[in-house]
Structure formats: C-alpha cells, structure tokens
C-alpha cells in the first residue's frame, strides 16, 4: 500500500545540489540533467528526510490524490 504522502520538488527553486539524493533511503529521488531533483512518487514513502536535508527548501511532502 502506497504511503499517504510523497516528496514533491519545486523545479523553479531547486539548485540541484544532490543533498536529497544522498539521504533518500529508497533511492527514490535523482537529479535530472543537472537542472532539478525529481522524486519518483511510486517509490517515495514520504519519510521526509529529503525535506529536512534540502538547503534550498524546495521539497515538500504532498498528499497523494484520493488520500487527502
């Protein structure tokens, strides 16, 4: 059963530093072509580690559709 929440990155403000990639326990987040981090909602369990780590504050946990 998927988690209620998943990480969502704001590509406009992501600095693509890769801090989130290092802390993700499920490798559910990657940096896309050096532009922005991108989380895979199907793998993300919404633990929030990347949210706490992100120095640019661009990651938030979002409710999955239909589970809000």
């Amino acid at each position: 059963m998927p988690s209620k929440r998943f990480a969502l990155v704001d590509p406009a403000y992501c600095v693509a530093c890769g801090c989130c990639v290092k802390v993700c326990p499920l490798s559910a987040i990657a940096v896309w072509r050096g532009v922005t981090a991108q989380a895979d909602p199907s793998r993300c369990v919404g633990c929030g580690k990347c949210v706490r780590e992100c120095p640019a504050g661009t990651i938030s946990l979002t409710e999955r559709e239909g589970q809000a």
Partner: protein, 207 residues
C-alpha cells in the same frame, strides 16, 4: 540505513589539505583550478552536476561538520538567501571580484605593481601570508595569482562555514557560484525544467 561508501565519499579531506598546503606554500593554490575547471567541464560535456552531487569536497566537508559533527543549527536557509536575485547577484559579484583578481595579476605581470604577499579575506581584510611565499622559478604573476586564488577559496570556505553553522549544513550550495554557473549550463543544455515532469526519477542520467 547506511549507504555503501565509495572512494568519492571521502573527498571532504581535500578541503583541509588544500587550505593547509596553501598555508605553507601559496603556489599550491594553483591546485584549486581543478575545483573550477572540473565542474565546468562536467557540465559542458556531460550535461550534469555530477561534481556537486558526488565529488564536491567542500559540500562534503560542510555536510560532515554540520551533519555528522552536528555543528549546524539546522535552521531553514533564509528566504532571501534562496531567492534567484541573491543567487545570480552573488554570481555576478563573484565574477567581478574574480576579474579584479585577474587584473591585479596582470598588473604584477606587467611590472606595474609589486607582488602582494597577503591573502584578502572577504574581499576586504588583508591577512599577512608572507611565510607561504618562498620565491619561485616562475614569473611573479604566478605567485600573485596564487595569492588571489587562495583568497577566493579561503573566503568562500569561510562563508560556507558561517552559513553552515547558522542554517543548514549545505546552505552554501544554494548560492555557490560554481553550482549556479553549472546549473545554468545544464539548463541551457537540457531545455526547460518543465521537461523534468516526464522524468521517472530512475537516476539513470546521473550515472
């Protein structure tokens, strides 16, 4: 969960070694050109920020001090510091100061100015550093460039340490001029970040 450690996870050691070598012989500052050229080459030819993501010694060093050693207050980076205006403004300021340093190097090379055996901290304060200069077989401008470059590296490390303590361990990454520059290059290569919506987040492009 502990991630498997690779050789590049220990690159944080490069920061204290680099600053330490420059304390004894300023000509070692030239090694810092690697920290300038590698990210640019990776961004231009590889189209990624692999340097920031994996090999940046300073990022790892700040992460180690602020994370594992818990020297960071771990507060959110201020909104103004995360703004695009500040990021790009700092990049422009950094470039202006860098070219000023190149101009000084040119003046010393042309014989219009004598070699300044000091390190300029925060682009303002002159720290005596004469003990690190033992003469050189090369022209004086080589040493002048080393003093200037070491000043840039020491200043940026100091700013990184201050924001690490005050905010998050890697708050420096938010406005790091090299990071901003390489992201701009990657953005030009990759097109609009809107295209990232199609990304599956598999990490394949980062390998």
């Amino acid at each position: 969960m502990n991630r498997k450690k690779y050789w590049y996870d220990y690159l944080w050691i490069v920061t204290p070694i680099y600053l330490g070598l420059g304390f004894f012989n300023i000509l070692f500052a030239w090694l810092g050109m690697l920290f300038f050229c590698l990210p640019l080459l990776i961004a231009i030819f590889g189209g990624s920020k692999l340097y920031c993501n994996r090999y940046c010694d300073r990022g790892q060093f700040l992460g180690l001090l602020g994370g594992r050693l818990k020297l960071s207050r771990n507060r959110p980076t201020p909104r103004w510091m995360r703004s695009k205006a500040f990021r790009y403004g700092f990049l422009v300021f950094f470039f202006v100061m860098f070219f000023q340093m190149l101009w000084t190097t040119y003046l010393v090379g042309a014989g219009a100015q004598s070699l300044g055996q000091f390190v300029k901290l925060l682009w303002t304060f002159r720290l005596p550093w004469h003990w690190a200069y033992h003469g050189t077989l090369f022209a004086p401008w080589v040493a002048q460039y080393a003093f200037g470059f070491y000043s840039v590296m020491l200043t940026s490390t100091l700013i990184g340490l201050i924001v690490m303590v005050l905010f998050k361990p890697r708050s420096w990454c938010v406005f790091c001029p090299m990071g901003t520059m390489t992201q701009l290059i990657c953005r030009l290569r990759a097109g609009s970040p809107e295209a990232a919506k199609d990304c599956a987040g598999c990490g394949g492009c980062a390998k």
